[in-house]
Amino acid sequence: MSSEGFTIDRRHFGLLGVGLAAAATGVGAIASNVPQAKAAPAAPETGPIKVGILHSLSGTMAISEAPLKDVMLMLIAEQNKKGGVMGRQLVPVVTDPASNWPLFAEKAKQLLSVDKVAVVFGCWTSVSRKSVLPVFEQLNGILLYPVQYEGQECSRNVFYTGAAPNQQAIPAVDYLMNQVAVKRWVLEGTDYVYPRTTNKILEAYLKAKGVASSDILINYTPFGYSDWQAEVAKIKAFGSAGKKTAVVSTINGDANVPFYKELGNQGIKATDIPVVAFSVGEQELAGIDTKPLVGHLAAWNYFQSVDTPANKEVVAAFKAFAKDDKRVFNDPMEAHYIGFNMWVKAVEKAGGTDHDAVIDAMVGVAHPNLTGDYATMMPNHHLTKPVLIGEVQGNGMFNVVWQTPGLVVAQPWSPYLPESKNLIGDWLPPMSCGNYDVVAGKCLGAKHKA
């Protein structure tokens, strides 16, 4: 080595020492705010209760997820005003998984094993949920997942406060079939798991109802698809076969605005070809001029426009909290509202935040929906929900035109899919199983040992 090479090396040496030492200590620092750390994160039983919030504040999903963080902060603040839970204050722990799926897993691990949160409210996309699922099961955490999803999952550590397909898709199709006399169906979706599964369920369901496969058109587009001209024209053509046609849209958030704009521009009115969407709520409509869309449909378990005192109260509170009168309240927000209150009740019921105790206590807890009736946490960790069909109005709100006569109990395992038709989930003893095959009479997954 040349002499100057040598000096550099010495500096490198020091530098790298510093660098990686810094790395080690830095990582240590992240961990240091906890006295002890082994897998099972028994949250402390005294002092404030930490509540993890795992929603993307940046990246592509921020548009949908960031508002959920605000709702959680509001709920926690209000609970603390009421004196917290069992006299203990709640402390929100906010992180930003930045719409990056591996980061979701990392953050979940951090929340559970480092911050020792008692519960986590978070995730939006299926993939983020799938990515954190192993972490929650390994560290026996609790996740409240507020978004409607494709089902085919039933974890002991997750409480699904959003809709399962039979709590959203199927009633919507029933409505179109019976009330609008639709005969021909376009299943238009973004190419990922939720639309794929939902459309498979719907296809099976429609066929079961005697719809010919020639009357079903299934089509997928990429994420963030913005040039809808050809697709919409295709729909128009498909709709010109002389039978009443409807579009069932599972198009993902970002692609919706251009889709509806194109519909409007190509002059497709709801009276010609109604579109019923499962991922379009007040939040998504906030981005567009809805006049051309009046009459198009969305199926949710909640609409901001629903006229009940409880709802008015919460919506007003949220607008006040966000200091912005234009902020909207939507279905996943209500899911968080219900989920949070249920968790509070469960903690009080269990007399503490011990995860196993709370998980067991959650089942059977009931809390009023903002739309009336009670949501009850069923043994399959899903909620009973009313299903509302709303029509888009000029002001970006929905006008409820129909709702299921009673509450719908979630079926996480769709009876319309061959692979899951025999499965049920029930986390109460003696079954204590997320995917129990009623025909084979055995638990396919890991049975929980209490």
């Binding site: 504040l57 006399a181 963030g224 024209a233 002389g242 251009p258 521009n265 002059g267 009276t271």
Partner: protein
Amino acid sequence: MGRRGAGKGGQCWRHMSPRIALRAALLVLTLLLLLPTAVPMRAHAAAGDPFAPLAATNFDVVARGVRSLAVSGNPRAVAVIDALRDGKLFAWKWPRPDAPLFIRTDNGFVDARSGAKVEAPAPVNLRRIIVNDSVRGAIDTAEGALGLFSKSVAARRRAADTLYQSADPGALSLIERALQSEKDAGIARVLREAQAAALLKSGLKSGTGAVEARLAAVHELAARADLPTRSLLASLQGQPPAVAAAIQSAIRDIDRRLQLWGLLENVYYGISLGAVLLLAAAGLAITFGVMGVINMAHGEIMMIGAYTTFVVQHLIAASAPALTQYGLLFAVPAAFLVAGALGVVIERCLIRFLYGRPLETLLATWGLSLILQQAVRSIFGPTNQDVTSPAWMSGYLNLGGLTLTINRLWIILFAALVLGALMATLRWGGLGRSIRAVMQNRRMAAAMGIRTPWIDALTFGLGSGVAGIAGVALSQIDNVSPNLGQNYIIDSFLVVVLGGVGNLWGTVFGALTLGVVDKFVEPFAGAVLGKVLVLVFLILFIQRRPSGLFPVKGRAAEA
């Protein structure tokens, strides 16, 4: 609905004095007991009464009720249907033989059938009749039918169209009456078509079912070869064999014609996509193509342009509502200035330190793009912003079998204008001349007294300004969200590279090629795979032509 009703009743307790509440409760009880017997009586009452179906709880029934009511010629029809549309029509909530209907007016309730004033029923007994889109459709038709005799040509025209769309046999007599009085030839034609449609829809046994008449009708319709007609013809069932055959052949012609138009339509889609890409890439063609700056924040600059549009629209809506329709016209220069200024700042504070290190520029601007995104996110919030499209930019126009959406047309035109202006500036403008001078030979230009650093800043500003303008256009077809830019940055670079760096015409061809290829691959490969194929084609293409469609030839290229 029953349960929902109960829910509503439940809420009303709070607002009612105990006495009324009690009475209502009793009422509910008794009525619930009556229910089973009530249903058939109501059905009986419905017979002959054109209003009864409106009280039904099934939207389909209501819709059909509206149609028949409209053509029934009942004097109260107009008032009732308007009330229904405006959500002022109420039904008695509990089943009752005569299913009463009320219209809420500013001063109390009137009976729908008679129009006579009635004392207000207790809210607990009322159910607002909800209008869903199928009912709304029926109302449109109805109003169409009712507008058939209005003075204004436009109204009659609309009426005729809706009648054609609805093809309601019940309206036949109405149409005939209208035809006798109708002077306007165009409207008369539509009416005849509507008549034909209605005729074909009408059941066989109704006397009008003569085969000749139907054949004539089919012929009449086959003339207008558009999708609605196709769907109408396709929907016809139980026709006499001869007629059925005629219909089939008619449909076949229409399909053949539409197919041809379909090809053209694809081209149009391709071009309009190309126009969008061109707008997105034009600015880059300056900053990257001419200056060689790999500006990863280009997309974010477009995003800023889009947000400028949003802000301008709101300012105008607030200050000069009269001009709201033309907000965009003000947004264009505003976006150019804002983005341009931003560009100059970026160049002065960042880019100029990195000349000769193009790859480092890439990294720095990437960092910048993150910052801009987050900045917008913190200022405007992460959610989409509502940029309204002015009336003159929405809707579509039919050109033969082509459906040209107007906003796309505008964007194509706009892209052409922007490009023209850009080329003019570069070719003839004083700035353009010095830009070219500096880019060709910096030292010489400097020697000739051109202040090269200043020119660099202006050039970058120009490119950014154009990107800002592109943002205005994008705000019309895409989300105005902090992520707006990211969806376009890669495509923009591909366009510039495909066209050949440093050549505006190349950029044009690059954009149009990408657009059209994409739209022609899409139908059979699907949107997702289509895009993949286009990218693969692009990679292979660049292997063949390492410096784009229009490489800068000669020794200059080597330097």
